[in-house]
Amino acid sequence: MLNRGTNGVGYGVIEKEVFLSSSIPVNLDIERYFNHHKMMNRIRAFEETAASANDDGLVLGAIHLSIGQEAIASGVCQNLEKDDFLLSTHRGHGHTLAKGADPQSMMLELLGRKGGICQGKGGSMHIADFSVGMLGANGVVSANINIAAGAGHAIKLKGGNNISCCIFGDGAINRGPFLEGLNWAGVFKLPVLFVCEKNGFASTTATESMTSGAGGKQRAESLGIPAEEVDGNDIVEVDECVRQNIKEIRSGGGPRFILCNTYRLHGHTASDPALYREQEDVDEAWKNDPIPKCRDLLKNAGVLDEDLKEHWTDALSEMREIYNRAKQAPWPELQLAYEDVQDSGDPREEAF
């Protein structure tokens, strides 16, 4: 519930002219960004809790934190409808949460426990929740691009009004599926939104050092796909751009590409201290943390700071509770190891 602010902007009055850092006046839908702020805090709290679970030795495999990239997750996924499809990456906790997945079953999955969102068979890199249209993170960089194009192809064949959205990192633009999947979506005029989260790194390598030419946006444009570039740490820019592009896709405009510039504030994995980059660059990047930026925006628009702080305290206690419950959960039932392989030649009947 949004409380009445001191400057008289109240709940129910959702538009107010404010000035962003770029000095471009916009009509700010306060409730909208209040919700983004809340989601960004929940993602941050999930990731920080996952990081401490990793420190506790309870996360079993590698996890890839999206700390610093929350504005993209919230700005993209909260603009999707439940029946829209989402394909994500190994750094996909935030996307999944913002698409509507249950963080409890996500945390159980990270710990490999019973009740995990993939029954403990996928882990962090394969989180999916088909009940909210989330068709999977992916352990193979760029592989989600063709799959997302295909989900869009199915929409076209079936005649739906939903769309398919694919989020991938800047490292993905150097693999073949980037070319093949974007070309495919362009050729068949599919309802697909491609979002490149340019966080500057491909694992431990600075992406630009291994990328020829101007990068993802220009590559998308060269394939005839309208492309835009936004500050991925500015929730307003992301939200506005995504909303507009989704509208165009839904009205039959074919695929769109959005490049979101951001920064990976943590290492490649939760266990990577990322010593290969200058500390001062990282310190500088923290000043551009999207969450305080969104908070300042809302404060300037008259939202009470205590309400905004509550987003963080609520999110943290939500995720800690989730973690505590996950720790108590048993391992998955052993027979699951043989389940859901295939119907024909099912290993429960013959595995050798």
């Binding site: 068979k121 063709n146 799959i147 495919w184 295939q342 030649g345």
Partner: protein, 326 residues
């Protein structure tokens, strides 16, 4: 029953399934003009270009987009043109299609058929001639189908299209024109059920795909020499019909496996090992394989023929096997 070719039988199967289920569609290079071997000829006229869809030369996208389209509720039939080209889409098949159901905890199936024309055909050389069926049997999640006759190509393709698993469907290029009687009605052949091509008492010859015809020719020649060979067409390699092979070996005491693909690491090795594990005491002679040497396939016919397993090769090996282990 209608007499039709191996290629036309598959086309009939696809057309019937597409009429039955509007979610079935086919996608691949050149399909709008019938496909590289004409196996889709006429279908675009009936079903339109959305359902008999052309594709860019992007095997990874053809396969990967089909994975997404399958997860999103359609049933794609993927045409890979040559089995060799499917290697451009191994991630999409092996890491994605085969694994999605399992690693996502059963939240999805990936019902797709991957048609991969394989085998030695008319001086096509090393990148257009391979038979890689054994690779796919190694991958949990995949079904592997290797039809040898027109009737089987219809009945197995229909089953593949209705199967909720990703099915690697390997048709042999050299038998597109082989004719045979094909049921007109809606006959679905089950996976994992072998066909006894020819009954015999002295030796069991197990084969599949085009090599089955070579095995049959060998069996005819063996009969002239007084050796009665039973020829078993496995039809599918995963699942494969162990019972049919075991009961044949129980009867004959001798097992010869023949395939066109390379012997080393081939599926014949799997069959030989399985029979050795379970049927050792029934064997009168060590299991033998007649398969290709570990050599790429050549262009010039005399060189191409050097790695071909012929009926005479099979006859020679089978004949030595009658000497009970010597």
């Amino acid at each position: 029953m209608t007499v039709m070719t191996y290629a036309d039988a598959a086309k009939a199967a696809l057309a019937e399934e597409m009429r039955r289920d509007p979610l079935v569609w086919a996608v691949g290079e050149d399909l709008g003009r019938g496909g590289v071997f004409g196996q889709y000829k006429g279908l675009v006229e009936e079903f339109g270009s959305d359902r008999i869809s052309d594709a860019p030369i992007s095997e990874a996208a053809i396969m990967g987009a089909s994975v997404g389209a399958a997860m999103a509720g359609t049933r794609p039939v993927v045409e890979m043109r040559f089995a060799d080209f499917a290697l451009c889409a191994v991630d999409e098949l092996v890491n994605q299609a085969a694994k999605a159901r399992y690693m996502l905890g059963g939240q999805t199936n990936v019902p797709m058929v991957i048609r991969e024309p394989m085998g030695i055909w008319r001086s096509s050389a090393a990148q257009h001639s391979q038979s890689l069926e054994s690779w796919y049997t190694h991958i949990p999640g995949l079904v592997v189908v290797v039809p040898s006759t027109p009737a089987d190509n219809k009945g197995l393709l229909k089953s593949a299209i209705r199967c909720d698993d990703p099915v690697v469907y390997l048709e042999h290029k050299n038998i597109w024109g082989v004719e045979g009687e094909v049921p007109d009605e809606d006959v679905l052949l089950p996976f994992g059920k072998a066909r006894i091509e020819r009954e015999g008492a002295d030796i069991s010859i197990v084969s599949w795909s085009a090599q089955l015809h070579v095995a049959s020719e060998a069996a005819e020649n063996l009969e002239k020499n007084g050796i009665s060979a039973e020829v078993i067409d496995l039809r599918t390699l995963w699942p494969w019909d162990k019972e049919a092979v075991f009961s044949s070996v129980e009867k004959t005491g001798r097992l010869l496996i023949t395939h066109e693909s390379v012997a080393v690491g081939g599926f014949g090795a799997e069959i030989a090992a399985t029979v050795s594990e379970h049927m050792f005491k029934a064997l009168k002679h060590p299991v033998r394989r007649c398969a290709a040497p570990r050599v790429p396939i050549s262009y010039a016919p005399p060189l191409e023929d050097m790695i071909r397993v012929t009926a005479n090769n099979i006859v020679d090996v089978a004949t030595t096997m009658m000497d009970n282990g010597n």
